[in-house]
Symmetry: C2
Subunit: 332 residues, 2 copies
Amino acid sequence: MKKYSIKDIANLSGVSVATVSRVINDNGRFSEATRKKVLATINETGYQTNFSAKNLRMNKSFSIGILVPDISNYFFAKLVQTIEEILFNHGYSTVICNTARNADKELAYLKMLESKGIDGLIVISGPKAFDIKQLPAAKNLPFICIDRQPSDQHGTVFIASNHYQGAFEATEALINNGCQHPVIALHQQISSSGIERRNGFIDALKKNNIFFNPEHNQVTIETDHILTTLQAFLKDHPETDGIFAINDTIGIEALTTLLKMGKAVPEDIKLIGFDDDPQDRHSFPTLSSVRQNVDQLAEVSVKNLLNMITHEASPESSIIIPVSLVLRESSR
Amino acid sequence: MKKYSIKDIANLSGVSVATVSRVINDNGRFSEATRKKVLATINETGYQTNFSAKNLRMNKSFSIGILVPDISNYFFAKLVQTIEEILFNHGYSTVICNTARNADKELAYLKMLESKGIDGLIVISGPKAFDIKQLPAAKNLPFICIDRQPSDQHGTVFIASNHYQGAFEATEALINNGCQHPVIALHQQISSSGIERRNGFIDALKKNNIFFNPEHNQVTIETDHILTTLQAFLKDHPETDGIFAINDTIGIEALTTLLKMGKAVPEDIKLIGFDDDPQDRHSFPTLSSVRQNVDQLAEVSVKNLLNMITHEASPESSIIIPVSLVLRESSR
DNA sequence: ACAAAATTGATAAACGATTAACAAAGTTGG
DNA sequence: CCAACTTTGTTAATCGTTTATCAATTTTGT
């Protein structure tokens, strides 16, 4: 299988390479007759344009980098998947970089991406160790942040779900279903979106005249020690009748831990998580959660990034996407 | 931030571009003094080689394509993540293509990947609609298949977990724990790995003198109708005391369905799944499963692919990776 | 019918790297 | 001291595109 170049196509169709290029890129300067002729030989030969050459000449690579902390996390995987699909439909390919929340890896990836001459960058969450914008690599690179607030807001796009709203609504759902002593369950280190969620929880308490006391209304879960942590907490705070888990990993863990402890969910303790992992539908009882609108998140991200790349429209600077509460059995 | 080319570096260090290139690629033909000089200006300027140019000249892109059916599936995500990391450590970047098990998309992706001039391809599972090898795009492209048997074995590498072994061991575990009437739960359409798993199940029955009767020892789960399907099956076959689920999605669904029906797991019915999803550790009771060795799968895949690319060693043709049974509460 | 304008196509110069072929300078042995 | 060899570095071709500039041809207006 020979690889055909534009020159071969030109020779075979009896025109010049310039004409072939014009036909391929459809920029007018040719007659209908030549168009047919050229297209025919392209079809015959199965010619494919060589992107390396095109990239070199046009200084454009038709590929986008994505920095993502952990693609084995369902939410990130789904988000990346959706973004990738939309980008592909726009003629871009996606280079996925799994940073493992490691700032050094992030830097290494950025260097590689710069070398490859990517046209744009999408940064999802991740470490706040340094500011992407400060990097030489990113100086002239269109990029947007999802769930990671860039420290220098100017000229960058920030997109996130309304974590605050989701937490607020989830907490109010607990209260409306009778919880008098709701507790938020979270990890030690907490991301920017986590802070938003915590604020939503606190404000929902406030609005319902429940005083937020970190001692009583908050439990810090240490991974792998959830049973002991939760057991100790509930012993000290037997009045607890509702838990808002800051994400579904904690939510599901809390659920099974409660069951192991002999508590009934939702009868004794109501429970709501965050992220709407698929497993929420398959727990027993099923787990209420807050669903982020992944499609919209992806859509808006790509739209804005491509706008930045083509300069067609000036990008918005900060976009918050609504979330939706998914009520299931665990919070009845 | 200016972009420096090799020419700039040459001028700034007072040598020719050829020399700079030699220093960068360390191929000998220069003195220690020039090396230091060139490296110094490279450091000062922050020069990065332009991959488009390098690719064009060398006819090599240092990027690998991955065709994967569904990256939001935990096993695939983990596998892709691991492969990506290893490839990155070898200086390759990864272009991920989510085919959604759609043969047309697969074809479109392959065209794009060919245009980009990828150096190699990894195909994970996916539709058997057509044979990659037959595609002109793949004629001279080194590629390996994970969990997808290429129809033309010659010169291609096939890598897979030992699905047969996993299913066999899981089934024997059920039997050894007292199950007299084990049942396999599977979907209507079944992949090549699914067939292996089913064979393992059947042979384990045989070995233990249980006659395999599709009527009695197999239930076909229709997604979204699992409750009714399973309920009907158990009504017709009340003797059922063990279920081997062909994957963890079915496993977890079966588990909660059984609980909803008032069955006790593992007391009434023992249950083992396949793939060792993280959620298995957080169900109640925890779900026994078969774990594929993702690290080894990734390692072996990359090693063989890179061997094919560099011709350093001739690739093996068919590699089977052992799996391990993870026993938890659901099969006690 | 002829000048001006519009259409169509060709030539050749980039883009930034690698590398074969060559040249100059330095080293060595007899 | 000079032939032969080694070391170091330069020049220029090449990869496959795009596109500015120019040239030839056709169309149009009067």
